[in-house]
Symmetry: C2
Subunit: 550 residues, 2 copies
């Protein structure tokens, strides 16, 4: 067996190591265009910010180690330029010497990754404008920051964009982030990103949403970024983080099938339209685990697993890739935001029926000091209750709950299963009713019909004549400190005495701070014969929606 | 509907609140023997230690709030002394006035909890000797510590015992913990507790295993604790944490069925042998979720859920309790230990076939500063790969992985599913190959036969003539710093050149530090025709076993 692997970072390096573990006598050649293999892409922003101080920490492995430990023929600075599928040969350019040569293969694994998008903006090639993909990029950006940058503009507020913003601020760079969408972190639903904008602003970041860079111009002091809105932003550093596109040229030239968005098409064995060629990582189309159908999800975890699976198949083990859930996480200053499965907007775009709820539990028992609040949004099937997606934003413990929910989605569990989840509880770690249980209780109560709910988005979109009576069941003190406009206030603890004040011929939307007292009030009024719904997630959810509308 | 509930802490208070949400017009009376309802049992040690500073933080709710919000008839200091099942009445003693009266019921929920065991030790009633169950206990203990205690003895090194030890040390009390078993935290397997003993010792705690208190004697300076080993421990404070027994007297007197260990028998609807009487919480027998059969697991999370479920059934909703996995966690100084599902010793006791592996991953990406190492032990079915149990010990991130694995056990997932788990990765939170994936890879590799492994326990127990050649594949520097006695050393990176030095007619056990290089070496030697196994968890697992043998 002679196996060639194109690309030596996450998917390619995983495939190569796995291949050697499966076959001691295979000939395995790993081609990597850059000078390094298997570097830590996800750590690059933190090297700029100084959290990671040593550059060689970013090298997950080295060509030398791969040679010694796995007997791999590692060829860095080697560009695979063409595939002759008929002859089963590739043409390789040694970028150090410009020598071009051919190499035959029995099987070929493509792991070329994805390249940062460079939108056609005037002045894109001016000095001081960067994208971030590899160590060479990070060296250039870090050098520039080290030399002194007062103002930076990050174009794109996705995962990497926000990590860059945080790390530039940590280097005392006044940073503006510009995002075409009307929210940061576009994979999440808009209202869930409100706390991220708040923390960005609190840390001095200017957040410009629904705007975009139209031109970059040289200025006395570096650059000027002209926005569509007309604003001009002075900057000595611009980083573009507006997304990536699959590096598919080699595959396209070879006549391999690609999808509409450019991802290399593969079957469940990660085999391309040529049975001897596999493809893995950011360059491929994957199955959407929740919704089915093809999608592109550039993530390190899936790339690593795909590398293993492709190697398994090369050596005759019929391993299958199950699809990608899109589990992702980002830290932005003191906040963490994470998601798994489908977002509400993706469900809407797919016309997939769903229900949703919000809860705002503490990350551990409230009686133990230091509990941090989080918001969890849960999306689920209206009939079966199967979990379709989850998002969480908050501080500590967000990562845990998203991982638990990711496992639940993988297992096809329902909100009824979340009610029964038996998670670890001691006061420093969780609660007797864990946030995951709480989400399950609220969602299952909705589906069982015992907990009628309305979400803030739906509530606010109702025409005036369909607006329910807004009943704030918090204390008068809480009510006075801020409430949904038009609300009346009867504390839940007074409601049994005062419910006669409520109209029996009008729908009521009850709410409290997070949804729990609202639930108690809803159950009470429902049994008293009134038409009532609880506002899911309460006033806190209202504030998330309001923040998102800014 | 007239519902009486006996016991107002976790299960009872949950049942009462749920009952009111289900029925606005039911008459609901909650009897609690003590002066408080629904206090935070799990927080008690941290109030002694001063982490929780305000006593009223320990009151999760109050009788006043339950009355106002849920219209519950809450009767504290009210002891239910007898049940007349024929007449469907209970006899109640008001402990404040000593008045005795009767109350009728349609349905009755028993949530009496469990009482600390008080073993028959001479001198047990001397002043300064306590058990810890409720706020009155904690008041007494805290008062004594506040008055000044130099030396304390904690008898029993279970979850609460270890929490007490930590909190006494935080109060500058020289503390000795005495445990009858030859390990701390008896629900875990012995080798997994080594890091806990290490941290206890590092914090100045004297840990006496395989010993027990035989007598308490008054001494000039307080107390003297005489141990079975003959040692005498001076102390001004002794706390017994040797387990709990179900508070079943009321049930037994009423002729309700109880199990051999005293737990009140219930069916899946939490109904006792009397169809009108339900029972929940620490007083009942539950189904063992993993192994089936009845067991007793006093945990707050299950008690809360059982309260909900019993109330559902009272009001005609056929909710079922699925059984208890035994998910539990404890913080001991800088260490966290947690488990879910069956332990190895329980599997052995049940003669249930299993396989096990150990991994020692970092809690997040190694290239990002602050990664803390953990050990995960995974127990799984030899045929299907279904996960039977998991234990983890380490620092940060242990709680997350146990919760993910708890969800996986609940869903009936296998080690092959863990390989494919798509968990959240950014460098502060995890790794592209999460610890859960790593455990899956190693376990699945074992079951597929591609990764033959031997565990340290089995290895060390082999008779001399069956001992394999111990091959340390770490670097010479690592080898020199400490290795399994009798090992030879060939670094994995030299093994292709030097494998001819190995005997072809003798079994080989390869090992490295954590198991990863040992795996690479095992694959290599296996393919070269040698008979080889990887020592699961490597030298670190060896150290765990050695520590446990001290």
């Amino acid at each position: 067996m002679k196996l060639l692997i194109v690309g030596g970072v996450a998917g390619g390096a995983s495939a190569a190591a796995r291949a050697r573990r499966l076959s001691e006598d295979a000939e395995i050649i790993l081609f990597e265009r850059g000078p390094e293999v298997s570097f830590a892409n996800c750590g690059l922003p933190y090297y700029i910010g100084g959290e990671i101080t040593k550059r060689d920490k970013l090298l997950v492995t080295t060509p030398e180690l791969l040679r010694a430990r796995f007997n791999l023929d590692v060829r860095t600075r080697s560009l695979v330029e063409a595939i002759d599928r008929q002859a089963k040969r590739v043409r390789v350019r040694d970028l150090a010497t410009d020598r071009v040569y051919e190499e035959s293969y029995d099987k070929l694994i493509l792991a070329p990754g994805a390249a940062p998008l460079r939108p056609p903006i005037a002045g894109l090639d001016l000095p001081g404008i960067y994208t971030l993909r590899n160590l060479q990029d990070v060296d250039r950006i870090k050098q520039r920051v080290d030399q002194g940058v007062r103002q930076a503009v990050v174009v794109g507020a996705g995962f990497i964009g926000l990590e860059l913003v945080e790390n530039l601020v940590k280097r005392n760079v006044a940073t503006t982030v510009v995002e075409l969408q009307n929210q940061v972190l576009p994979p999440l639903d808009q209202e869930m990103t409100t706390p991220l904008v708040e923390t960005l602003v609190a840390h001095g970041v200017e957040v410009l949403l629904g705007d975009s860079a139209e031109a970059f111009e040289a200025a006395a002091d570096g650059l000027s970024v002209r926005l569509k809105s007309g604003r001009q932003l002075p900057a000595q550093l611009v980083i573009l983080g507006v997304g990536v596109r699959p590096e598919n040229q080699l595959a396209v030239d070879a006549g391999l099938e690609v999808g509409p968005r450019g991802g290399i098409r593969v079957n469940e064995h990660l085999q391309t339209s040529d049975a001897d060629i596999y493809a893995v990582g950011d360059a491929i189309e994957v199955q959407d685990f929740v919704l089915g159908g093809a999608t592109q999800v550039p993530l390190a975890g899936p790339a690593n697993r795909q590398g293993r699976i492709a190697a398994d198949n090369v050596f005759g083990r019929a391993a299958t890739y199950r699809g990608t859930q899109g589990t992702a996480i980002v830290g932005v200053f003191d906040r963490t935001a994470a998601m798994t499965g489908a977002s509400e907007k993706v469900l809407q775009r797919n016309q997939r029926p769903y229900r949703k709820i919000y809860v705002h539990p503490g990350h551990h028992a409230g009686y133990y000091p230091g509990a941090e609040s989080m918001t969890i949004k849960l999306l689920f099937d209206p009939d079966s209750g199967r979990i379709l997606g989850a998002q969480a934003v908050g501080g500590a413990g967000v990562d845990k709950r998203i991982d638990v929910l990711a496992m639940a989605i993988q297992a096809g569990l329902t909100v009824f299963d979340l009610e029964e989840a038996e998670l670890a509880y001691a006061p420093q770690y969780g609660s007797a009713k864990d946030p995951v249980n709480m989400a399950g209780f609220v969602a299952a109560g909705m589906l069982r019909g015992e907990h009628p709910q309305i979400d803030v988005g739906t509530l606010l979109a109702l025409p005036g004549d369909e607006q329910p009576l807004l009943l704030d069941v918090r204390t008068p003190q809480e009510f006075a400190a801020g409430a949904i406009p038009g609300s009346i206030n009867i504390s839940v603890d007074d409601l049994r005495a005062r419910w006669g004040e409520l109209p029996s011929n009008r729908k009521i939307a009850a709410y409290c701070q997070v949804g729990q007292r609202g639930y108690v009030a809803t159950r009470m009024l429902q049994q008293l014969g009134l038409s009532v719904q609880n506002v899911s997630g309460g006033y806190k959810a209202y504030l998330l929606y309001q923040g998102a509308q800014r």
